[in-house]
């Protein structure tokens, strides 16, 4: 293959949360093994667009640079993923970068994922152990189950599953696959299990688990390979049983 000198990026930009988005093209010097973020760093170093005009540097979010923090998610050539793990050599050019459309844009490629943290609050995705006295050690967790639960715990709230989900959008209040899977994670924990019904009640609230339409894009795009659709189906069963308990039963606190 002929030596490549520049990489072209077409970036969807937005100056403020309320202003209109626009596209700007940049030609960036090619370096071997570069990723999308190193391309963005070149633009920051020399913020001149393809027409030779000086412009503002493109803003984006990042942190770990090794696909474990989830901060640098964006839509690259139409598909949501982490920009740190997107290698330029493996992408079709020109490379189109857009902010994830499911979330409110803060500026350029930076989006606000607060709704994901609100969703985690809705399903109480934590284990309540704080109190005024020492509760002592909790029940032990079988090693096999710990290994299984570890896979679910890899979720980094990156938002890629919400972006790919056709039912998470501004017309619906569906919380998305990530929080549903987290409810399953904490319900599987021996201590977390003690508050199982509270998380299921959260999943049954408005915007909860019934927002899922089984398009199953989430499990395909999850960068951590979390079995999101299995989690959703498992929580479907659990919420159904909980709703029967609530209606017919007399012991519905568990």
């Amino acid at each position: 293959m002929a030596e490549q000198n520049t990489v072209t990026f077409i970036i969807t930009r937005q100056d403020s949360p309320d202003s209109a988005p626009y596209k700007e093209t940049f030609n960036v010097p090619y370096k071997k093994n570069m990723n999308v973020i190193s391309g963005l760093m070149e633009i920051r170093k020399n913020p001149v667009n393809a027409n030779g005009e000086k412009t503002t540097p493109v803003m984006w979010d990042m942190n770990c640079l090794e696909e474990v923090c989830g901060a640098c998610s964006m839509v690259i050539n139409g598909t949501a993923r982490q920009s740190c793990a997107a290698l330029v050599d493996q992408l079709e050019q020109p490379i189109r970068l857009e902010p994830m459309s499911t979330f409110p844009v803060v500026r350029d490629l930076i989006i606000d994922r607060e709704q994901m943290f609100d969703a985690l609050k809705q399903v109480k995705a934590w284990i309540p152990i704080d109190g005024t006295y020492d509760l002592g050690p909790g029940p032990r967790m079988p090693e096999k189950k710990r290994q299984w639960a570890y896979e679910l715990s890899k979720c980094m709230t990156c938002g890629v599953c919400l972006e790919a989900c056709p039912n998470v959008n501004d017309k619906s209040d569906f919380i998305g696959p990530a929080a549903i899977s987290q409810a399953r994670l904490f319900n599987a924990h021996p201590t977390g299990e003690m508050n199982k019904s509270e998380r299921l009640e959260g999943l049954m609230e408005e915007g909860g688990i019934t927002g899922c339409g089984n398009a199953q894009n989430c499990v395909q795009v999850c960068p951590k390979g979390i079995p999101l659709t299995t989690s959703i189906a498992a929580m479907n069963r659990a919420t159904n049983i909980q709703s029967f308990k609530n209606f017919f039963g007399s012991d519905n606190v568990r």
Binding site: P166, E206, G208, T210, G213, N214, A233, A234, N236, R237
Partner: protein
């Protein structure tokens, strides 16, 4: 009531299979009697028409469930942002087609009920082989019915797959995959039964 949306959506999923899906299978099988001759169809349809409390059965088993399923279904279609062009996975296409066939089926059923049950109710038509023969002898209506029937059987078969997930029956990827094949067979079998009867009504073969 607490968890209103949860209850509405689960009821929507249940009604699609029981009673609507069960009724659909019954309806297509009764139609299929046409293949064995005019007499045979008239006897079968006549038996269904002679059921006691027919109007109550129709309202409770057919009209109200379909109306509920249709109204909530249209809402579900409107709160979706389909994206199979960016995420062209098999299930995403099925998800999209489920919404497309839902709307086609709604239009088809509205027309079909107007043309048959309502006209019979008004006394303009009689329930017999001749009614369907006269409707389907027009090529335009024949193809409208073909599209309508296949859209309905697809919506039912794929909906059955979704039903199994929504009720937490098929959880593992493997069971969901097997369910895909099983519902594919359901789709093909019901489409055959439905289309076969249409061909007899239209062309007498």
């Amino acid at each position: 009531m607490e968890h209103r949306e949860f209850g509405y959506r689960r009821l929507h999923s249940l009604l699609g299979v029981i009673p609507i899906g069960v009724f659909l299978i019954q309806h297509l099988i009764i139609n299929h009697f046409a293949v064995y001759g005019e007499e045979s169809f008239n006897n079968a349809a006549g038996f269904v028409e002679s059921l006691p409390f027919l109007i109550v059965l129709e309202v409770v088993i057919i009209y109200l469930p379909i109306l509920y399923h249709a109204i909530l279904g249209v809402y579900i279609v409107f709160v979706t942002k389909n994206n199979p062009n960016n995420y062209g996975y098999f299930r995403n296409w099925m998800f999209y087609l489920q919404r497309v066939t839902g709307i086609i089926t709604l239009i088809f059923i509205a027309w079909h009920v107007w043309e048959t049950r309502i006209q019979i109710g008004l006394g303009n038509e009689e329930l017999n082989y001749g009614l369907m023969e006269s409707i389907l002898s027009s090529p335009v209506m024949f193809w409208f019915y073909i599209v309508g029937v296949i859209s309905t059987t697809f919506h039912f078969a794929n909906g059955l797959w979704s039903f199994l997930v929504s009720w937490g029956i098929t959880q593992s990827p493997r069971s969901q995959k097997v369910a895909t094949y099983v519902t594919l067979i359901v789709f093909l079998a019901l489409s055959y039964i439905g289309v076969r009867a249409l061909i007899t009504f239209a062309y007498g073969i």
